[in-house]
Symmetry: C2
């Protein structure tokens, strides 16, 4: 049954099928197409629509332009039993990321820790995809990446760092877990875009205008491209978010020898002609190397947090990963992903451009 305009539901499987078809039409190996589709559909399923199908066209553009190499597979340049330095060979983010995290997992299973950093990679989607990969093997997983400059250091008028996300995931009992996946800016750029579309002001602490003044106007914020670090202004400790952003770039860009800080190309949905050369780091740690009973304590800690007395009785205290869990439950209940009309129009354009089978609705 085809959905009406108000009910544009696409099943997770169908979304994945469509994205695999698009990537395959861009002439990349089937396994690479699948890895990218799995990454993007996971973002949509988890509720991070900005990092899902929303990015499909950009990736297709980069493959068409030859800015990224869809067939490349990563190379290990140097390794120890606990570490590896990887050249992503300008391959697709998911291909590089999965390779590196799987290597880190293998090392962690052997020796307790795997620490793998990669240069010459591309956008790797949600950082959480890779930390989850480690978590699903019973490990603690960490993933970070540098990105195009958007964050203003405290006291600076201009951006010098990306939104440089940190993800950390750890398993609890009965499928429960803690999954942190956060930009080190106060908010990611997508949140400014949503405020712009809704014509709502941004809270103070999200963004600056070109002169460095805090702004609540999402249009001014979007044009300036100057996101404030987590913590906002200096008197609310924005320098901590700035420090975390630099820390991420040291472990990703500086360590791997990729681009870093202002050397990373500017963000663009299309028209980039230079290799991104992003740096990532992937870390897996085996909790069995430490105190027995890790997942029991995880469950207890999560219970403590969720049971804290609420400020507003209607708003439960959550743990990182709960918003995504709630979103996935809703998708399952509704039977599919609810894309915007705008997104579906982009998909129609891709159908024509790549001659793939259109999306069908639930």
């Amino acid at each position: 049954m085809k959905s009406t305009k108000n009910q544009l539901l696409v099943s997770v499987e169908e979304s994945r099928r469509f994205m695999i078809d698009c990537f395959s039409a861009a002439k990349i190996p089937r396994s690479h197409a699948e890895q990218m589709a799995d990454l993007l559909v996971a973002a949509d399923y988890r509720g991070h629509y900005s990092h899902g199908m929303n990015r499909l066209e950009m990736y297709i553009n980069e493959l068409d332009d030859g800015t990224a190499n869809g067939s490349a597979t990563p190379t290990i340049l140097k390794q120890t039993p606990a570490t590896a330095w990887v050249d992503g060979e300008n391959g697709l983010g998911a291909v590089v990321g999965n390779f590196c995290m799987d290597l880190a997992i293998k090392k962690a299973k052997n020796i307790g820790v795997g620490w793998v950093c990669a240069k010459r990679s591309n956008h790797y989607g949600i950082a959480g995809w890779y930390s989850l990969r480690a978590m699903n093997k019973g490990l603690m997983g960490i993933s970070m990446t540098n990105t195009s400059p958007l964050m203003t250091p405290t006291r600076s008028k201009q951006a010098a760092l990306g939104t440089n996300p940190i993800s950390f995931a750890a398993p609890a009992n009965n499928g429960d877990s803690f999954v942190l996946d956060m930009a080190t800016t106060a908010v990611a750029g997508g949140k400014i875009e949503i405020k712009m579309r809704k014509n709502e002001p941004c809270p103070i602490g999200w963004a600056q205008d070109v002169e460095g003044n805090p702004t609540t106007d999402p249009h001014v914020a979007f044009d300036a491209g100057c996101l404030m670090p987590l913590g906002g202004a200096e008197n609310t400790s924005g320098y901590k978010g700035y420090g975390l952003g630099v820390m991420v770039d040291i472990m990703c860009g500086i360590s791997s020898g990729s681009n870093y800080s202002t050397k990373v190309r500017k963000w663009a949905h299309s028209g980039n002609t230079t290799e991104a050369n992003l740096g990532h780091v992937f870390i897996a740690i085996d909790p069995d190397c430490f105190a027995p009973g890790f997942t029991d304590r995880m469950t207890e800690m999560i219970d403590i947090c969720r049971s804290m007395p609420r400020i507003d009785p209607e708003l439960p205290v959550l743990i990182a990963g709960d918003p995504e869990r709630i979103h996935m439950e809703n998708v399952d209940k509704e039977g599919g992903l609810r894309y915007t009309e705008n997104q579906l129009q982009t998909c129609e354009k891709l159908v024509k451009r790549l001659s793939v089978k259109p999306l069908s609705f639930v």
Copy 2:
């Protein structure tokens, strides 16, 4: 020449001497007394007076009460070439911390990474002390600890986590470096105390009252003991700081099997009779395992940040570690540490109580 009341300068060496004498009088081994004094005087020298001599009396109280065991040395419970699980045996924080970070450094030099977590430890001072220890050996260093509950999870009326600090340090050329050392709360408790003493309001985003409302009254904030996570309220992404706080506790408390979350005893300057059983983690990573030229790129990145166009021409853009660098230069220029009268009175009390030689002034 004895300083006047307005000029209470104590040389770094004399401060260290005094603290060694106090710890020795509390009948702990000389090497343990030196390790604690080195830790505390480094905090004062770096400008973190809340974590320096200010803590001396508390440590002496804990030794006197038998709450901490000043003679204990840590035991390795389990290890791989890359990891270790350590029992701090309720020893002093610096003794446990130095032992663990030195072990992590050794492992990193051998195999690229050392990841050591400890249970049954006590307050370990500034987290930066341990990351610096790795950095001084040419490594990236990370140190984190859990602490007594003071941070309210987003939407919670009560505290469930400590200020749970993260420190990350990495070397650049010519003695320059990046040294992040931050509580995952918006501010540490000491900043509220300073506002209280000055009778100045706190910015919104620092603390809550007992009902969970943001407060600007430092007295209300101090009494409630409810610090907000980095990022402040939910609409400015305080859940990220909360997430970071939980992450720290997972790597420290949950991994090591120490106390965690609300199981950590409440903060008290004196009168604690139960073992703290805190958990820490110490990580060292050898950048030589990755791209050559690490310190060159570090220097370039630091230069980029420091050279960013300023919002206020009078306020230079800094890099984490710069405020401490500036403070150390000032101490060197002035010839000593400038303790408050209040602190010096506490020292006089300790002189009588422990029969040690009084502090002399520059």
